[in-house]
């Protein structure tokens, strides 16, 4: 007997639709990016990539991502620990607040930061009088990037830590382990895959963020231009090959991230099968 929803016609139709749509909307654009980037040969691609401003944009983007990840990591773990291991009034509200960066458009986030920390902003004017400039400089880019990416790690950890409960940690403490030892030897190994997954997502978003960054960076070439902003500028300047070379770099980073994620998922499923 055939199971419900397993009619061959339905199955074939669904598979065809899935393959067709992902080919059209995902695979084709990806191929087009690389085709465009290499349309005038490898040497033109290479000269575009090794251009000073492009190299600077790559450096700034990776630097911001490298600084963002540890901040989000510590923030996410601390928040997940707080929400899953303690009960206090406002716990649910806090869990909702974590999602604000997901709910708010990044452009709005950028504008708020500009309003607060810009030269004429509430905090910014005070900072300005002390000669500290956050907006239109890399610290501003870092701040909005952290704002946009901070929920990823916590979002990955909270459901897992809720499901695992605190029994293992209690067991560790009854056996005489200190708080730090318990975290390092019991909690961390149990959450490490979710943690890595959260880092991968954070990294992908930090590298690709456009909206919030474009508001606060000022897009000064060679100074505050990140790779996505640089890409847009090149395109506006009718340098299509240069723009697509940058796009190819970003796509490459995305592909590497996806590969890392797939690798982790494969390992996790193997561990489950093994266990």
């Amino acid at each position: 007997m055939r199971r419900i929803g397993d009619a061959p016609l339905v199955r074939r139709l669904l598979i065809a639709a899935a393959v067709g749509l992902s080919g059209l909307f995902l695979l084709l654009p990806l191929v087009a990016i690389f085709a465009q980037a290499f349309s005038q040969g490898v040497s033109v691609f290479w000269s575009n990539v090794s251009d000073f401003y492009t190299l600077h944009a790559i450096g700034l983007t990776l630097g911001i991502a490298l600084l963002t990840i540890p901040v989000c990591l510590v923030f996410g773990v601390a928040l997940a620990w707080l929400v899953t291991r303690f009960s206090f009034p406002g716990r649910r509200l806090l869990q909702t607040l974590i999602d604000i960066p997901f709910a708010v458009s990044p452009v709005v986030a950028g504008l708020i930061y500009l309003l607060l920390y810009g030269r004429n902003g509430w905090i910014g004017s005070w900072l300005n009088s002390h000669d500290i400039q956050l907006m239109f400089a890399w610290p501003g880019i870092l701040m909005v990037t952290i704002f946009v990416t901070c929920p990823f790690v916590a979002r990955e950890l909270i459901p897992l830590m809720q499901a695992q409960g605190s029994r293992e940690e209690e067991a560790a403490v009854t056996l005489g382990a200190s708080g730090w030892t318990t975290f390092r030897r019991v909690t961390l190994p149990n959450i490490r895959w979710a943690l890595l997954y959260g880092i991968i997502l954070t990294n992908a978003r930090a590298v690709g963020e456009f909206g919030a960054v474009s508001v606060v960076s000022g897009a000064i070439r060679g100074q505050t231009n990140t790779l996505p902003l640089h890409l847009e500028q090149l395109y506006q300047d009718y340098n299509a090959v240069g723009a697509f070379a940058c796009a190819a770099l970003l796509a490459l980073i995305a592909l590497l991230t996806l590969a890392a994620k797939a690798g982790l998922e494969w390992r996790a499923s193997r561990r489950e099968a093994f266990a």
Partner: protein, 364 residues
């Protein structure tokens, strides 16, 4: 190490989980905390462990291990072993690493050498008959094996007190029986003080030197299993320790009447409720002048040492359960639908005002 609880109470928000409790546990004793869910037994165990803190107000309680006041001592410094209901083994560590954990986290000055740790872990694994499983992971073990690892892990640090939270609750009946016997044996051999929580009266009565019966955050009775079963102090204890049959009626001139049933009792006139255990009911084909309780058999379960027989009658609000020896079962040729007479050998009464049991025995 003896345990002494002095005026220990606990609130969770506005609900009182434990009324102020005093409890003395002797060195080397195996004590069972028995009660239905929500009776506060697990809370009490966790307070002894230090995983929960007792109320500070209105009057602060005290917990003593021997002469040592541990009220304000952190869990990790109380020198307890705790066995969790669902084992709580470290899932990413091998059986060996689980058992060794407590030894490897000791401060460097007190930590045994690597060889000593190894020797001790293998001795414990041998004790729980799991030497061959040292390199396995918890998920590769059965429930009973996991619980044995969890016991070995708790004993590795040589605790003063072993606390077990429903240790066999999640296991099937046969494994549970085996582990119970094994824990009893272990306890006799090593003579540690232990407290365990259970909602299974059979387990509590079989395993404990003394049983603490709890309900609604209160201790109802503390006694040896024999005393508890023979002389329950109140109705709750009696009802919780086994199946109960009820007979409600009016007493007039030494006869309790209920519909067309009557029974000679030595009670003053008025309403009365009698409580009987299933083994206190004898079945016969004829009534006697003292006892006329006509019943009909509605179900028979011949599994186990005795045959369980369900009885119904017009005068009964709820069916009765009687247990009959296989020999009697065969002699009376019991079958469903058969009409018989029940004869109480023995019954109890818990008048609400006095709370004390009144027991009458009728030798049949």
């Amino acid at each position: 190490m003896s345990i002494r609880l002095d005026n220990i109470a606990k609130h969770f928000g506005a609900t009182q989980a434990l009324e102020p409790i005093n409890l003395d546990i002797q060195e080397g004793e195996l004590v069972g905390l028995l009660g239905p869910s929500g009776s506060g037994k697990t809370t009490l165990l966790r307070i002894i462990a230090g995983l929960e803190t007792a109320d500070h107000s209105p009057t602060p309680g005290r917990i003593l291990f021997g002469e040592r006041d541990v009220t304000h001592v952190h869990v990790r410094d109380r020198r307890i072993g705790f066995v969790f209901q669902h084992y709580a083994l470290f899932r990413h560590m091998s059986v060996y690493d689980n058992v060794a954990f407590g030894l490897t986290v000791m401060p460097r000055a007190k930590r045994p050498s690597a060889q000593d740790i190894r020797a001790r872990v293998y001795r414990l694994l041998e004790m729980v008959k799991l030497e061959a499983f040292a390199n396995r992971y918890p998920a590769q073990l059965s429930g009973g094996q996991q619980q044995r690892v969890s016991l070995a892990r708790a004993l590795a640090v040589e605790p003063d007190v072993l606390l077990l939270d429903e240790p066999f609750g999640a296991l099937d009946a046969k494994v549970r029986q085996e582990l119970r016997r094994w824990l009893r044996h272990l306890h006799e051999e090593f003579n540690f003080t232990s407290v365990f929580v259970t909602h299974d009266q059979e387990e509590a009565l079989e395993l404990s030197d003394r049983v603490v019966v709890m309900s609604n955050g209160r201790i109802e009775q503390i006694d040896t299993p024999e005393t508890l079963y023979r002389a329950p102090q109140n109705r709750f204890v009696f009802e919780f320790l086994g199946d109960v049959n009820y007979l409600e009626g009016k007493v007039h001139n030494g006869t309790l009447t209920c519909g067309d049933a009557h029974l000679a009792v030595d009670l003053p006139d008025g309403d009365a409720e009698l409580l009987l255990r299933p083994h206190e009911i004898r079945l016969a084909e004829q009534p006697t002048p003292e006892s006329h309780l006509p019943v009909t058999i509605t179900a028979i379960s011949p599994v186990g040492a005795e045959v369980r027989v369900e009885l119904e009658a017009d005068w009964l609000a709820e069916p009765w359960l009687a247990t009959v020896r296989h020999a009697d079962f065969n002699r009376l040729a019991l079958r469903r639908g058969q009409r018989l007479y029940a004869h109480p050998r023995h019954w109890r009464r818990f008048p609400e005002a006095t709370e004390n049991a009144e027991v009458q025995t009728h030798l049949a």
